[in-house]
């Protein structure tokens, strides 16, 4: 059944009911009137009878009247009981005139017993004027504002309201068809209101969040509504995808000015996120010393997150096993953990105590697996500490690296540290003096914890700035190869002495190859994570070199400069080996896309093995 029909039915029913009620009311009213009229005629007799009763009760005798009253009492009760109080009232109201009459009537009644006595009596009608009801309405003192859309609103409303009255049980209000009542245009905010809103906390948070969304949405370069059938006059540079080219550079007016990039890295979980740690801003005293910014490749104008610290951040990395955490080591020796879900201050930090590092932490590495991982940090006083990420109050282990034969001091100052792939107990360090040592974390059969003093790597003449082991990326295993870079303008390739066969006597180890193409300090060197024979290095003149050992050994395959002449401090390959992030000393973070050369062919591994054999035979 259609709701309209049902509504009609119900409407009819209601109307019938109403009519009935009205009719009943009318009937009752007319009955009342009729009975009233009747009662006015019989009033005299009933009145008399009542008075008889009254008098008899007062006097006590007069059996005749009593009988009569008894007889006649039967009838008045049947006439109309609701009229009695009315009658009594009337009776009591005019006692004087009635008592006079009653005196008459008892005298008459015994004589005219069979016949009803008819006495004309004049009544004093008391007109009680209706009590005046004082009514008042509450009104507001302001004037009603006449809205321009009020007429439009009134129309549909008035039309719909009688409908609503008649059918209160309607499921769908008919107003659904009528246009929704428009709210009056909002009052414009005053200047003061605006200012207060603009500075309020909620508004700033809202603006931060929504402007990020909008900027990310605006940055989308692909127009999904392109019509490929239409001829396009745009000239598209075809070669851009193949060569090494710069994608973008990240910098922020507020946060990266006057700072230099101390470290950079990519996120394992989100391939579009990367971080950069910045050093102190010498121009400003009020700004925080250490800043770590998380950048998003899709949001080029501003950092995703801004993390601060009290001391210069010298090394920073995304946590491999926690997708929201960023770990940093500082110039003061503190280890800090920031959380992307929290505010910009570190959520955890190690105390500035003698238990941890007291010298700048320049190398940091998370080793282990998801459930059992440690953070290893090394500072320039030779202390290597192992930390649990949720307990930074004191390190789990502290290992002081000392070289017994070092005459100046026992300690060695570690500038870089690296672990071979999948190794957790032995590592290699590069020092400020230019030497490289192998070290063990624990005592093992045949070797003690600490520096392995027997193997001497005839390393660099200057400070070792970068040390990187070959990642395991393909069928062949080159994980004992490592590269070092130094301020003596060279990059050297070494084959590490196996840790499982510790040497018994002093041995000198020479590099496999030395790359001397650079003419400035080489600040960092890193293997490509996917291409076995490729690595990149950055140097102090702003040069970015990519070496492909399968094609050229002596010189880099590709060599680019950033153009600004400022030194490039750090280099990081992304997970797929497609892009590199370069941090420069003027605070800019460059992203370069390497195009085709970064993708290894299937025979690269075998080629590399042959190359290595060739290098070793030299």
């Amino acid at each position: 059944m259609l709701p309209a029909d049902r509504r009609k039915e119900e409407l009819e029913k209601k109307r019938a009911k109403l009519a009935e009620l009205r009719a009943a009311k009318e009937a009752r009213k007319s009955a009342l009137d009729a009975s009233r009229r009747d009662s006015s005629a019989t009033d005299s007799t009933s009145e008399r009878r009542d008075l008889d009763d009254l008098v008899s009760s007062l006097v006590g005798d007069r059996p005749v009247s009593r009988n009569r009253s008894r007889d006649e009492l039967g009838t008045p009760s049947s006439v109309s009981s609701p009229l009695d109080p009315h009658v009594l009232r009337e009776a009591l109201r005019a006692p004087a005139s009635e008592t006079a009459r009653t005196e008459k009537t008892p005298a008459d009644t015994p004589a005219e017993k069979p016949r009803p006595t008819l006495v004309s009596a004049d009544f004093v009608f008391f007109d009680v004027p209706p009590r005046e009801k004082v009514m008042y309405t509450k009104e507001i003192q302001t004037e009603t504002i006449d809205f321009p859309n009020a007429d439009a609103v009134e129309g549909p409303d008035s039309r719909s309201s009688p409908n609503r009255d008649a059918e209160p049980l309607a499921a769908e209000p008919p107003a659904a068809k009528t246009p929704e009542p428009e709210t009056p245009p909002p009052e414009p905010l005053t200047e003061a209101e605006r200012k207060s809103i603009l500075s309020s906390e909620t508004f700033l948070n809202f603006f931060d969040y929504s402007s990020k969304l909008v900027e990310r949405a605006l940055n989308e370069p692909y127009d999904f509504m392109t019509d490929y059938a239409v001829n396009d006059d745009r000239i598209i540079d075809d070669s851009a995808g193949k060569n090494v080219h710069r994608v973008c550079s990240f910098s922020d007016e507020r946060w990266t000015r006057n700072r230099s990039v101390a470290d950079c890295g990519w996120s394992q979980k989100h391939p579009e996120l990367l971080l950069a740690a910045y050093s102190k801003n010498h121009a400003s005293v009020t700004d925080a010393d250490g800043v770590v910014l998380i950048w998003n490749l899709h949001l080029r104008e501003r950092p995703e997150y801004i993390f601060q610290s009290q001391s210069d951040v010298t090394v920073a990395a995304f946590s491999d096993f926690h997708q929201n955490l960023v770990i940093g080591g500082t110039y003061s020796g503190q280890i800090l953990i920031w959380d992307m879900r929290a505010k910009s201050r570190p959520v955890l930090q190690s105390p500035l105590s003698a238990a941890g590092h007291t010298h700048p932490v320049y190398s940091m590495r998370i080793i282990g697996t998801q459930n059992a991982h440690n953070l290893l940090t090394a500072s320039t006083d030779g202390l290597v500490c192992s930390w649990q990420l949720d307990m930074l109050a004191h390190p789990q282990e502290a290992l002081d690296l000392v070289h017994p034969s070092n005459l100046k001091s026992d300690g060695i100052s570690v500038t870089t540290m690296a672990f071979p792939y999948n190794e957790t107990t032995t590592f290699w360090v590069g020092t400020e003096e230019g030497s490289i040592y192998q070290a063990n974390r624990y005592d093992r059969a045949g070797s003690k914890a600490g520096i392995n003093g027997l193997d001497t790597y005839n390393a660099h003449y200057g400070m070792v700035t970068g040390l990187d082991f070959h990642p395991l990326s393909g069928p062949a295993d080159f994980s004992d190869l490592f590269l070092t870079s130094s301020v003596d303008w060279t990059v050297k390739l070494w084959r590490a002495k196996s840790a499982s066969k510790p040497s018994m006597v002093q041995q000198a180890i020479t590099p496999l190859c030395s790359f001397e193409d650079a003419d400035d300090y080489v600040y960092d060197v890193k293997w490509s994570p996917t291409h076995p024979s490729m690595f990149a290095s950055v140097d102090g003149s702003g040069r970015f070199d990519i070496y492909d050992l399968n094609s050229e050994i002596e010189v880099p395959t590709v060599s680019l400069t950033t153009g600004t002449g400022r030194a490039l401090n750090k280099l990081a390959w992304d997970k797929e080996g497609r892009r590199t992030a370069l941090g420069s000393s003027d605070g800019l973070l460059y992203i370069y896309d390497l195009g085709e050369i970064s993708q290894p062919r299937s025979d690269e591994w075998t080629t590399f093995q042959r190359t290595l054999a060739e290098l070793e035979s030299r």
């Binding site: 508004f203 948070n205 809202f206 603006f207 370069p221 540079d237 005293v285 505010k343």
Partner: protein
């Protein structure tokens, strides 16, 4: 490294506040202005309007008439979109609304109290990104 107060100042030297309690990244009105200018200078962006849910304009980079029009119409549209989303799933809520027309694109980012409306011309975007 604590900053030394200036030697010859008459007023009480104020040491730089590096409070660890509250968030020291001071977001304030100046940053809002800077971000607004940056967004407006993006290729193709025609204007930005920040409004409340009722339609009152807090900030705008367009002229008055356009702002009024946009704020009333778009807030109503966003309210309608919000009601649609909530009707489909009562626990859902509208977060972002993007309307593409032949000439323009309207992006609306919405939270509980405010809306950020951006109008841009998407045909000016550059193609090609690896």
């Amino acid at each position: 490294m604590p900053a030394l107060p200036p030697l010859h100042s008459t007023s009480v030297p104020a040491l730089p506040k590096k409070s660890l309690q509250k968030d020291a990244v001071q977001k304030d009105y100046a940053d809002v202005e800077a971000t607004l200018t940056r967004i407006t200078s993006h290729t193709g962006v025609q204007g930005i309007v920040i409004a409340t849910h009722e339609g009152s304009v807090i900030r705008s980079t367009l002229d008055n008439i356009q702002t009024q029009q946009i704020s009333t119409l778009v807030t109503q549209l966003a309210a309608r979109g919000k009601s649609v989303v909530r009707d489909l799933d009562p626990e859902d809520d509208l977060t972002f609304l993007r309307i593409r027309s032949k000439k323009n694109e309207i992006l609306v980012a919405e939270t509980k109290q405010y809306l950020l409306i951006t109008i841009q011309n998407p045909n000016e975007l550059q193609k090609g990104w690896i």
